[in-house]
């Protein structure tokens, strides 16, 4: 039997490596677009300073990009290495968008990124600009296909279980691609990337302005970042709300857990701003609520109720009992029984097969599960509320602070007089916020799906490879060891180049080069 420890360690490893990977991804996605905008300005106006901006922010882009590529490789290996049952069970569906990502996006991004760095004097202005846009397009399309894959984990449409092959298989590619969960996630995520890159450029430009260095360079960078950032953060917030709406439709347990909605309330439900969720007692202590808001976000109506966790648990009880039956029928089918009645009954119950598999954690033979085991499976069929409740609020608060910062930054960059040190300091010190929001956002998305790796289809517990505890302790230690060293090196180089600023381009017209001459 699979051990709890192996599954827990595999989950930790996935969490560590994917959250680490996502420290670099949003900056790549956003900065590639910002570089394309800067270079377009250069080509349109012919002013060298915009080329310098593309080159300098491009250098920082490169330092970040290297680690994004490095850690992305882990992600692709990891499904097969640590989640081999997952790979077998859903590879027919989940593998396709990942492969399309490679063919359509990753090839393009990686092939042209060399030209972006080294093609300046080998290409015409127009050609180089096209390349920069293609790198940006590549990294954005990359996000699209990865999120189609992830969206399917949240809302597995267009696929069906096949008892002959013992796995999920595609029934409709259109449903997979136009999965509402995926579409919303894509826009929310790339807009978060744009926001991250804008906050990065904004903060660093503010630092130069505070130091009184390279005014023309930093003011222009600041202005572009402020405008682009404001548009992006608005998109993130609007699409985040859209996410809440799709969650309400397809991932009721996640939404209810985020909101600590223990019981279905009369519509329109109130939104719990803050409180202390208590999973055992199924209530939130010291809850501060705003009436109506949750109902409006979750259902876009005032008369549809948002379903609460108690009712979800009650539904899951039914699903689990059906799942046990489905599992029993599956065993007969796997043993070669092809009686029509068995097939027909299995087909009618198979959508609950995943719920039957939940019991695999407590008993080998599912069909002989005791009442106690069934109760345990029901109790653990919803995610832990408190971690979701808090991370979600951290994400949202970060988002709204960023909105305020960008609004102020846009005002400051359009009205020269209003530019004060405190605004610049605000821009600088709020720089970590987009990363905090991105990381907590992914935590909400993935932790909120538990106990499933594929919602209502495949439990996380079953998905892991049959490795030993020590195998994973060793690999996880290896990842932590290398990733820590890499982060130290990356931050060291990044800070060094940030401090040098555009002087690192050796164009003989920036701050530190003046010092040398003077």
């Amino acid at each position: 039997m699979i051990s709890d420890a192996v599954v827990e360690l595999s989950r930790w490893q996935f969490a560590v490596t994917s959250l680490y990977h996502f420290l670099f991804v949003p900056l790549t996605i956003g900065l590639s677009v910002l570089l394309a905008i800067m270079e377009s300005t250069y080509v349109l106006t012919g002013r060298e300073i915009y080329k310098d901006m593309t080159l300098f922010w491009g250098k920082l882009f490169g330092i970040n990009f290297a680690l994004g590529v490095t850690t992305g490789l882990t992600m692709e290996f990891q499904f097969g290495m640590n989640w081999s049952y997952f790979s077998h069970y859903v590879g027919d569906v989940f593998g396709a968008p990942l492969a399309i990502e490679g063919l359509m996006a990753f090839f393009m991004e990686s092939t042209f990124v060399g030209l972006f760095f080294f093609g300046w004097d080998k290409l015409t202005k127009g050609q180089h600009l096209t390349i920069t846009w293609l790198v940006a397009l590549g990294s954005n399309l990359s996000a699209l296909w990865i999120l189609v894959a992830n969206g399917w984990m949240q809302n597995p449409v267009g696929a069906e279980f096949n008892y002959e092959t013992m796995r999920m298989e595609v029934t409709s590619f259109a449903a997979l691609i136009f999965n509402p969960a995926a579409q919303v996630k894509f826009v929310h995520t790339v807009a978060a990337g744009y926001t991250t890159a804008s906050a990065f450029v904004l903060g660093i430009s503010a630092y130069y302005m505070l130091k009184g260095r390279d005014a023309a360079f930093s003011q222009r960078s600041y202005t572009i970042a402020a405008g682009f950032g404001l548009a992006s953060v608005l998109a993130v917030i609007v699409l985040g709300d859209e996410s809440g709406y799709t969650d309400g439709e397809v991932q009721k347990a996640k939404l209810a857990a985020i909101e600590a909605e223990w019981h279905t309330e009369e519509a329109p439900a109130a939104f719990t701003v803050i409180g202390l969720p208590d999973q055992e007692a199924m209530k939130t202590h010291y809850a501060v609520k705003i009436p109506w808001v949750l109902g409006l976000i979750g259902t876009r109506s005032i008369d549809t109720p948002v379903i609460g966790l108690t009712e979800i648990l009650a539904n899951n009880r039914v699903h689990i009992h059906n799942g046990i039956k489905a599992y029993g029928l599956l065993q007969q089918l796997r043993e070669g029984n092809r009686e029509e009645t068995v097939i027909a009954e299995f087909e009618s119950l198979k959508k609950d097969l995943g719920y039957g598999l939940l019991l695999k954690r407590y008993t080998e033979n599912v069909v002989d599960a005791t009442d106690e085991q069934i109760e345990l499976a029901i109790k653990n069929s919803i995610p832990q509320v408190a971690p979701l409740f808090w991370t979600f609020r951290v994400m949202v608060v970060s988002g709204f602070i960023m909105l305020i910062v960008f609004v102020i930054a846009v005002v400051a960059s359009s009205i020269r007089k209003s530019r004060n040190d405190w605004i610049l300091k605000l821009s600088l010190y709020t720089m970590p916020l987009p990363w905090i929001a991105c990381e907590t956002g992914w935590f909400v998305a993935e932790f909120g799906r538990q106990p499933w790796s594929i919602a209502e289809v495949l439990p996380t517990f079953l998905s892991a490879s049959s490795l030993s505890e020590w195998d994973i302790i060793l690999s996880l230690s290896g990842y932590v060891f290398f990733y820590t060293i890499f982060l130290v090196i990356e931050m060291f180089l990044m800070l060094k180049y940030i401090k040098l600023g555009p002087s690192s381009l050796h164009r003989r017209r920036y701050h530190f080069e003046m010092d040398q001459r003077g």
Partner: protein, 379 residues
């Protein structure tokens, strides 16, 4: 147009081959160049010449590797699951080594401190040497069969160990891949450089082409007595993918079975030797461009030789023969294979077109003068 399942399976077997060979040819010379870096570059400037000979294109080349993994996941999910989880520590080792490549290329010349650069040079060597060796070892183990079987509900259980992967035949396969990548990288450096590095590369071409052919010949002799696998029950090439519904036997020499049935296949290993011979000759007479074409042919032929031996097997199981994964029983559904076929047919040629264009833009020699002139922008 919709193909039948059998045809699609064969097409996807071929696509996987194309991607693996694509990586061996494009990523292969990058790995070879990485291994040669400390030996052919005697000072910082020479090493920068070597690094920059691949610096602007290696990133795209490596995607062939990622893509082979992605195609495996999409078209052969069970093969992906079994191979990646069974080769756990071997892949981890290759992965950790490959971490060093993007960082080595991008970070190395961003500081002018000698110790910093020397350490990144070591990292670039390790990042090339380890995967070049380990990937060959993995392929050697595929020919041997790996100790896995399916439990209840198709759970994959692996009974081997990391040390078990380091058996003599697999190590020989590792040395073949290492030496063919070095051969290929040396030919590439002969094209891209002048003077000292060019001379040194030329010597390496001789050593490593001969080594590759000798080792490959040795593996060919070994294969006669090595246990091979054969499906002994009826084959249903259009059936649903269920890898535990057949009977498989294992006997010495069965890997030569396909060559017995189709003698024309002997042309494949033969072309490895002919290609290698021509690589040697053309490199000797300073025609590295043509030599490169033949080292590509050599590499492709070596990989195809193994593929033709194994067909239709993808991963034989050495402890539960009947659980072996074959072309007929471990693919994705017909629908996925079909859709992915069209995606590949559209995008793969497009990739080849723009990749060729990028190579054209970066054609020409990399010299010490070029490095000096672009001191602050090059790797």
């Amino acid at each position: 147009m919709i193909f039948d399942y059998e045809t699609l399976r064969i097409i996807w077997w071929a696509f996987l081959g194309v991607l693996i060979i694509g990586f061996a040819i494009l990523g292969g010379y990058d790995l070879g160049v990485g291994v040669l870096l400390p030996f052919l570059g005697k000072n910082d400037e020479e090493r920068r010449v070597i690094i920059n000979s691949i610096g602007s294109t290696w990133e795209g080349n490596q995607v062939w590797f990622v893509m082979a993994g992605g195609a495996l996941f999409a078209a052969w999910p069970t093969v992906y699951a079994v191979s990646f989880s069974s080769f756990y520590f071997a892949l981890l080792l290759a992965l950790f080594a490959m971490f060093l490549r993007p960082l080595g290329f991008d970070y190395r010349s961003k500081l002018a401190v000698p110790a910093w650069r020397e350490n990144w040079d070591r990292a670039l060597f390790v990042g090339a040497f380890v995967p070049a060796l380990v990937l060959g070892i993995a392929f050697g183990n595929l020919l041997k069969g790996i100790p896995f079987h399916f439990e209840d509900n198709m759970r994959i259980v692996y009974f081997g160990s990391f040390m078990g992967l380091l058996n003599p035949f697999a190590l020989l396969a590792g040395l073949i891949s290492l030496s063919m990548f070095i051969m290929h990288g040396a030919v590439y450096l002969q094209i891209k450089t002048i003077g000292n590095i060019n001379e040194r590369a030329k010597k390496c071409v001789i050593i490593f082409t001969i080594a590759t052919l000798v080792l490959f010949g040795l593996a060919g002799v070994w294969i006669i007595t090595l246990d091979g696998y054969h499906i002994s029950s009826e084959i249903f090439p259009n059936a649903a993918s269920n890898p535990i519904a057949k009977f498989v036997k294992r006997e010495p020499g069965l890997w030569l079975d396909n060559y017995g049935h189709l003698p024309g296949l002997w042309a494949v290993p033969a072309s490895a030797f002919i290609g290698g011979g021509l690589t040697l000759l053309l490199s000797r007479f300073d025609k590295p461009g043509s030599a490169f074409i033949f080292s590509c042919i050599t590499i492709a032929s070596i990989i195809l030789t193994a593929a033709c031996s194994m067909f239709p097997f993808l991963i034989p199981s050495s402890i539960s023969f009947n659980s072996s994964l074959t072309v007929w029983d471990s693919s994705s559904s017909i629908k996925t294979l079909n859709v992915m076929f069209w995606v590949t047919v559209i995008f793969l040629p497009l990739i080849m077109v723009y990749t060729s264009w990028v190579f054209r833009v970066f054609r020409g020699k990399v010299t010490v003068e070029h490095i000096r002139k672009n001191n602050h922008t090059l790797y």
